[in-house]
Structures are given as C-alpha cells and as structure tokens.
C-alpha cells in the first residue's frame, strides 16, 4: 500500500471556540495570545470557591444548521455540525460534490451530550422523571455528534463514527481520517472533535483538585490546573491529487500519527507510554525527532500532566527539544475538541509562519525545562509540527503535520 498510498492534505478548517467562530477569529486569537477565561455561566456555580472557564458566547445554532432542527441537537452536536459546515465552506467544496463522494465523518468527544444529562438529572431531582423533556433525552447518545453532520449535509455514502477517547479523541479522529484518505477508502474526511462545557466535567475536575482558580498556566512553576472549555474543530482531509485537481488551497500535509494505550492508571499519565506514542507518530510520519520544529503539547496546566509530558518529550527529543507550547493556556481544555482545535492551530502555525504562545506564563518549572514561547507569539518558518493529545484512561494520540509544499531538498 505504501507505494500507492495517497498523500493526505488539509484543505478546510472549521472552528467553534472561545476565541470566536471561524478560522479567522481563531488565528487572530492565537497570534494575539488572547486569554478567554471568565466566570462560567453554563450552570449555577454557587458553592464553588472559584469557577472560571473558557465558554463560547454568541453561538447561534441557526446560523450554521440549516437542514436539521437545531433544537433536536445537543450543544456538542450543534458545535460539530457548525464546525463541519465551516470546514466545507473553507475548503470551497460544494456540498453536492461531497454528497456524491465517498466520505468519512469522525468526531471525537469526551462527554458527548453530558450537558443534556446535567439538565435531565436536574429536572428529575427537582420535578421528578415525568417532567424530563423527551426531546432533550433523545439528544443524548454520543453517536449523534457525527451522525448529525452526515444528516445535515445528506451524506449517505459515508461512515459516521463518534470516537469516545476523551481528551485525545480529536487526534484519534484525525488519525482515522488520515488512514481512510491515505488508503483510498474515502475521497473526503471530515475529522475533528466536539464538546460542550458541562457541570459534570467541571465538578469532577474540581473535586480532583485540578481546576485552576483563575487562569491556566501550562509549564509554569506555579501552575494550578486546568480551566474547562468547549468548542469544536473539524478538518477537511482529502488526497493531494484531489486537492490539486479541484484547485483547492492546501493548509498543510498530515504526515502521520501514533496511538498508545497506557493500560495502567485511570487518571495518572504514564511517561514511557506517552514517549512511545510520540515515537510511533514520528515513525509513522517518516520524521526524525530533530526534524520537528514545534510541539503543540497536551499541556493542560495540571501538576501531573505537564511534568510527565515534558519528561516524555525529553526522553524522545533529548537535550534540545523543539519549542513546546500549550494552546490550552488561551482556550482552556475543550476536552474532545482540544486536540482537534490544537491540530488546526498547528496547520495555521505552518501556513502563517508563527508560533502561538503559552500565555499566563511567569516562570517555567525547572523540572519541565522547555521553551514554551511565553506570552507572545513569534514568527517562525515551520516545516514539521507535532500535536500531542493525552487522555484519562491512558489513551494517547499524537498527530504530525508538515508544510506544503516542502522546501526543495
């Protein structure tokens, strides 16, 4: 298969994030190093000592969802459909063409429509089960995140599959899309991740002592944890041949990816398994560690993640690891959307020639010892960029992106 395998390129980007809607708002936010943290309004936060998050405001589902009734979709599904529409538009791909092609729709998620479960439980406790809204109950199954995209665009020659590998799920989806396009099984893949801010996840992380009081400070000596966020990122993938034939703009090449499972602790990350995942991704991409110009880290801002991830990076990249940044410093942890949005950030960094900063940074933890590009974006010519996604359950996924076209050898 190697000789006939397709080169996989990114031709469309769809972004629903706390930076704003669409790729332009996202790019502007990354360049400016915008902090999007503010008090959570999604649910009543009475009783918590602190409750900041990176919420999306001003999202009008009806602007993006035209075939389906938005009320029949949960917030995460709405985000997924909106981001998919943006990606298709951004790629200048007529929907009729997509409909007539073999496609894959794959959306990763942590919580599915847990936000609806929150409200159903609230109703049940407050008013009894008979008061629960059947429309809301029907929105809950996580499979609907990807099925909704297929339904909205009338895609029937497609495989619509939701990937539930939590905080690295976006990268899993991109990896799956990469394989499907590379092997010629599909012509187009809509791959990404989506999640909606919810009480369950906030409370769970809060109870574990991993929610930062005010801001997210990855790699900082004084880091205090994550901020929960939300959103969706969807990438349109196709073969280089297809993109060239239809004259599409190419953001970047998907060089490859790697997956590993710790098969170990439910929440604590495992350094050697993370290192193994990065090595697998590099091997799959045909890239040597010294060729990587930038790492977009999982970088949640918890004590445990950052020190473990940095340790794994030093294990793989030796004494001089590439610059390593965390987009979560700006947009919080959008769970299933996180590694998809970070992949989009990587594609933009390559296309636009810059490194997004790690904001809220005062002093790098000496145990971490990485150049995290503190607080201010810098210009840089990037050829190969790596994006890490690590999840509870020990599911790790790393994607690698390359500049298109490459420099002449």
């Amino acid at each position: 298969m190697t000789e006939t395998a397709n080169r996989v390129v990114i031709t469309g980007l769809g972004v629903v994030s706390s930076m704003g809607l669409g790729v332009d708002a996202f790019l502007a936010g990354l360049r400016a190093g915008r902090n999007t943290a503010r008090p959570i309004t999604a649910f009543d936060t009475t009783g918590f000592d602190h409750a900041n998050g990176c919420e999306i405001t001003g999202f009008a589902a009806r602007d993006w969802i035209r075939t389906l009734n938005p009320d029949e979709l949960g917030r995460a599904s709405q985000f997924a459909v909106a981001a998919a529409r943006m990606a298709i538009d951004d790629a200048s791909l007529p929907v009729e063409r997509l409909r007539g092609s073999r496609s894959l729709v794959t959306i990763g998620t942590t919580d599915g429509e847990s936000r609806d479960l929150d409200s159903l439980v609230e109703t049940e406790v407050g008013q009894g089960p008979q008061a629960m809204d059947p429309v809301v109950a029907r929105r809950v199954p996580a499979g609907r995140l990807s099925a909704a995209v297929a339904r909205e665009f009338g895609l029937t020659d497609t495989e619509a599959v939701t990937i539930p590998t939590a905080c690295s799920a976006g990268n899993y989806a991109i990896g799956y899309g990469f394989d499907a396009v590379r092997g010629g099984e599909v012509d187009f893949a809509l791959a990404g991740g989506a999640d909606a801010l919810c009480r369950k996840t906030f409370t769970g992380f809060y109870r574990l002592g991993t929610i930062a009081p005010e801001r997210c400070q990855p790699f900082d000596a004084d880091r205090k944890g994550i901020l929960t966020g939300e959103g969706a990122g969807v990438l349109l993938l196709e073969s280089e041949r297809s993109a060239l034939a239809r004259g599409a703009r190419i953001y970047a090449v998907v060089l490859g990816y790697g997956l590993s499972c710790d098969a170990d602790h439910p929440v604590a990350p495992n350094q050697s398994s993370v290192a193994r995942c990065m090595r697998l991704a590099l091997d799959n991409s045909g890239v040597k560690p010294e060729e990587v110009d930038l790492i977009s880290a999982h970088g949640t801002g918890t004590k445990a993640n950052d020190v473990t991830e940095a340790g794994a990076i030093h294990q793989v990249f030796g004494d001089r690891p590439p610059r390593t940044v965390s987009l979560k410093s700006m947009i919080g942890h959008s769970m299933g959307a996180a590694s998809a949005l970070a992949s989009i950030g990587c594609a933009l960094a390559i296309t636009e020639g810059f490194v997004p900063p790690t904001i809220n940074h005062e002093r790098t933890d000496p145990e971490i010892d990485l150049d995290c590009v503190p607080n201010t974006a810098i210009d840089a010519d990037l050829t190969v960029v790596q994006n890490n996604g690590l999840a509870f359950g020990g599911n790790n996924a790393v994607t690698i992106f390359g500049k298109y076209p490459e420099r002449a050898a």
Partner: protein
C-alpha cells in the same frame, strides 16, 4: 478519649468504612487505607470530600499524604475544624 472525641472518631470511621466498603471491625486507628484496605487515590479524594461535607470544613488536597489511616484523618480534620 472524651465522649466528644469518641463520637467524632466513630463518625470518621463510619465514613471511611462506607467508602472503602469494609466492616468497622477490620479498621484500627493505624491500619493503612491503601496497603491494608485496598484504597486508591480516588477513594482517598472521596473520603476527603465526605469529611468536608460531614464536618463543614475545607481540607486542602496537600493534606492527603497524611490521611493514610484513621489517626491521620482525625488529625487533619481536627486541624481544619479547629477542634484542638
């Protein structure tokens, strides 16, 4: 032990036994939750959360390493609640 202290210790014991799913007679003042009663880090947080609710205190998670047995838990809760 005063009656008040005894009552508090017995309430703490109840909470711990309930969470670790063990019988009160299996637990001593110094038997270790993790080594002797198969507790893990999530159970430890569950114990911490229940104690906060029961005694209306806030316990910093940095205290968890001290909360390895009933004796340790009592000391931490006593400090947080100002029982001493």
């Amino acid at each position: 032990m005063t009656a008040m202290v005894e009552e508090r210790v017995s309430r703490i014991k109840e909470i711990v036994c309930d969470i670790l799913e063990i019988e009160p007679e299996e637990v001593t003042q110094t038997s270790l939750f993790k080594e002797d009663h198969n507790a893990d880090s999530l159970r430890a947080i569950e114990i911490l959360a229940s104690l906060e609710k029961e005694f209306d205190v806030t316990i910093d998670q940095s205290e968890l390493p001290r909360m390895v047995n009933i004796e340790g838990v009592y000391a931490v809760v006593a400090e947080s609640a100002g029982w001493n």
